[in-house]
Subunit: 499 residues, 2 copies
């Protein structure tokens, strides 16, 4: 095939693939936000059928022949085109390992599992969800085992979300977090608890919705390109750089829950919105890995959002919207309150210091389930035991325990470590950013543009054009060094608690 | 092909067709409810691609051969299977008349036109929308002209929404409405206007949202199967009988606007929700024609919803939710207020008596645009002239004039007469229903089940299994007689205004 014809065929393949993924993405988003409860089965059927077409598209002989052809002419391809072929080949190889029928059944299972999990969480009924989780784990184990020749099963799952992540490096990473942070957490436990009573009031949800809009304004997220919805568990999805969705949740007595959900998901959104124009419609558009994605969300949520300068910028907005509740509160008091460090039950609400240990618990449980050492039946007990061991907390019910996250019901097994890795990447990004950007001066003025521009330049705009390793090098300018993360946490929290 | 094999292939065709339509439906619903503004172009591309697959599926030689095969074995088919083949053949023939590229481009155009219309309406900027309408009319004229051999172009469009509707019968129908109702409208104009001041107050939107839920409860619409969203222009869509969506809109100063939108769309929803279980996933599921669909929505909105017994049932709910605003209001006062009959600007807010003339204006304008006698450029002037002529109102701006409805931007040219026909069908259904059901006693007790059960039995459950003519016969037990409709209106409004 002539090169130009082959490139046209490549474009057509990507356009078709994108349309199916767009449709499946919106069906899923709709399902999690506004669809009626009983719609899950019908949506599962449709997702199964569409994913069957996607599978066929990516594994059919014509697609493989096209990729062969383009690989054979590799030297004549631009860097961008080479990378497109490379990624499509990876996806094609991965899908080829999974029979179409199995892939379709899995999509249908997930649509139903999400709905069942939602109800099970609300009623703290693990038994209702367990049969679905059983199947999801079995599917994931099967998917992973097919890569046995290349890597261990759980490594194969980790690799899906964070290219190159392996137990061999994650085991010592989490060990480091535990060793370095546990003494600090214990020490802080002996200190007086900062005053958070001003947050334990009623913050009407209608006003919180306005606050979400204001937070998106501060982050420079245009509502013309990014909508906000409501779900039990906040998340972000994007179909192209003019169609990104974030979700949040509202609790009248927990103003911080929505606030940091919006900032976290807003960080994901900025990544999707900042993808390079030239990449639109290709497989290179959007985020590179979930670890890098979480580096962006956690960067805004914690490094920026839980900084004193940000508290100075956001407090006037909060006081405008909640004048009675927040009268007389100082930025310093807000800063101490949003950094209240103490063992807790819910990962998404956890402070920056204890957060990594929540992730560690999930990492160990996933390893056990995929290796077969931990059964789905024993999971809640093991969850509770490990939470007690790592954080010293007693889990009162499964709603606030094993059922709290939507990841497993959505099929995301191996995803959790991305949060901890992303948090750690962010610290090394901050160190580089501060060399050329007046980070804290800008943030204190409520101007996040210099921060976002720096990240856009080094990460967002590249989509998947650079490899994950290249992106991290571009932003961190050094190899990954998790001790930078623990040092940052130790310094921040020692100062906060006057240790 | 063996018959069983052919029936299996038929099932597979329907399943695939249904999945694509489900996906396109949700993409469109999402676009009109929650998607960000700039998402239209990307959605248009995806809808174009998916509709191309739908077109191919329905027009490919294998599909036609399958339908040929089944038609050849017609006598061996069950009634249901014969009807499935019949409808698929009709759809295949219709789509065969449209080249795939044209069909795809049209879907993309509509996605963009909806977004442009939305903004144009809000800013009353007809010029921004006109180029899109120009193209939509041209497409519709082209689609219609391809059926020239069978019928006139505008008749071909009418036939899409109300099988068998023709100008030949609609011209005298609208003439009858005008002749019979105009004198009554003029006479009522001389009478004292009922007191509606209690409706001209602030009804907080948060409370109106609760009211919507209560109205859905009264109508027996389970939120597990039907969700409610918010749009500029209310509508209903359904993907299967466990996934129906209605939308409404809220205005703080117009509590009736939301109230009757919910009841109207709720009527559509009940039709979709009542479709027979055995029809699920086949082309026979859901509403038969748009005229019959509107007979259901308009039945609940007006015949039930604007009756005195309904006012008696709903007023306590309204007073519970809006105690200050509605203290001391009697059911009779509410009844008179919701039946305030006077020429107005907005079709969806119009009273039952003048409503038909709003439809007539659109009918005449569509005829003119499709015949080419009326240009899109001249449309607003002609709209205003005809509104003045038919209803005596001066249209102050295009927002409250030619831009008010979302139909044309959605490609629905020829749809409007369905509203007037449906309203008229409903009266003949009521006459039959009253023979066996204690309609007003039940409604006054707030129990709409006997009404819904009667309609479900005669209409809803049949989906498209019966022909439109058979369905109407099933519910009206007599040929269509629009004088029953004008008689009903004359009787109701003469009593209301003591003429």
């Amino acid at each position: 095939m002539e090169l130009n014809r082959a490139l046209e065929a490549l474009k057509e393949l990507e356009t078709t693939l994108h349309a199916y993924r767009h449709a499946m993405g919106v069906l899923t988003y709709d399902g999690e936000t506004v669809a009626p409860r009983n719609s899950a089965a019908g949506r599962g059927d449709t997702l199964a059928l569409l994913s069957g077409v996607e599978h066929d598209l990516m594994t059919r002989p014509a697609t493989k022949a096209l990729l062969d052809e383009l690989e054979a002419q590799k030297d004549a391809l631009s860097h961008t085109d080479r990378r497109r072929v490379e990624l499509l080949r990876e996806e094609s190889d991965d899908l080829t390992l999974v029979p179409a029928k199995e892939y379709m059944d899995y999509q249908s299972l997930l649509a139903n599992a999400q709905a069942v999990w939602h109800d099970a969480k609300l009623s703290s009924d693990y038994a209702a969800f367990a049969p679905y989780l059983e199947k999801i784990i079995a599917y994931n184990r099967r998917f992973a085992e097919r890569k046995n020749a290349q890597m261990k099963p759980y490594d194969a799952l980790l690799d899906t979300y964070e290219k190159g992540a392996r137990m061999e490096t994650l085991d010592p990473f989490f060990r480091l977090l535990q060793t370095e942070l546990t003494p600090l957490i214990l020490e802080i436990g002996k200190r007086p608890t900062p005053d958070t009573s001003f947050l334990r009031q009623s913050f009407p949800i209608a006003q919180q919705r306005v606050f979400s809009e204001r937070l998106m304004d501060i982050m420079g997220i245009s509502r013309d390109d990014c909508a906000i919805g409501e779900t039990e568990h906040p998340f972000t999805d994007g179909y192209n750089k003019h169609d990104v969705r974030i979700t949040t949740h509202y609790f009248e007595g927990e103003v911080l829950s929505n606030m940091y959900s919006v900032i976290h998901e807003g960080g994901h959104a900025l990544y999707e919105l900042g993808s390079g124009d030239a990449l639109e419609g290709t497989v290179l558009a959007g985020g590179a890995t979930m670890g890098i994605h979480e580096s962006q969300s956690r960067f805004y949520e914690n490094i920026i959002g839980r900084s004193l300068p940000f508290c100075r910028a956001v407090l006037p907005v909060m006081q405008e919207l909640f004048p009675a509740q927040l009268a007389g509160v100082t930025p310093e008091a807000l800063y101490r309150a949003v950094n209240l460090a103490q063992p807790s039950l819910i990962r998404t609400e956890a402070d920056e210091l204890t957060y990594g240990l929540h992730v560690m618990v999930r990492y160990e449980l996933e390893k056990g389930m995929i290796s077969g050492e931990l059964s789905v039946k024993d999971l809640p007990g093991e969850w509770n035991r490990r939470m007690k061991e790592a954080l010293g907390v007693e889990v009162p019910d499964d709603r606030r325990g094993v059922l709290q996250d939507s990841h497993w019901s959505g099929g995301l097994v191996g995803y959790f470590p991305s949060y901890a890795l992303g948090s750690a990447y962010g610290v090394q990004m901050l160190e580089q950013m501060q060399k050329t950007v007046d980070v804290w001066g800008s943030v204190e003025r409520g101007d996040l543009r210099p921060v976002t521009e720096w990240l856009r330049e080094r990460i967002h705009r590249h989509g998947c054009l650079l490899t994950p390793a290249e992106l991290l090098q571009s932003a961190m300018q050094a190899p990954f060094d998790p001790s930078r993360y623990t040092e940052y946490l130790k310094k921040k929290f020692s100062a906060l608690y006057a240790l």
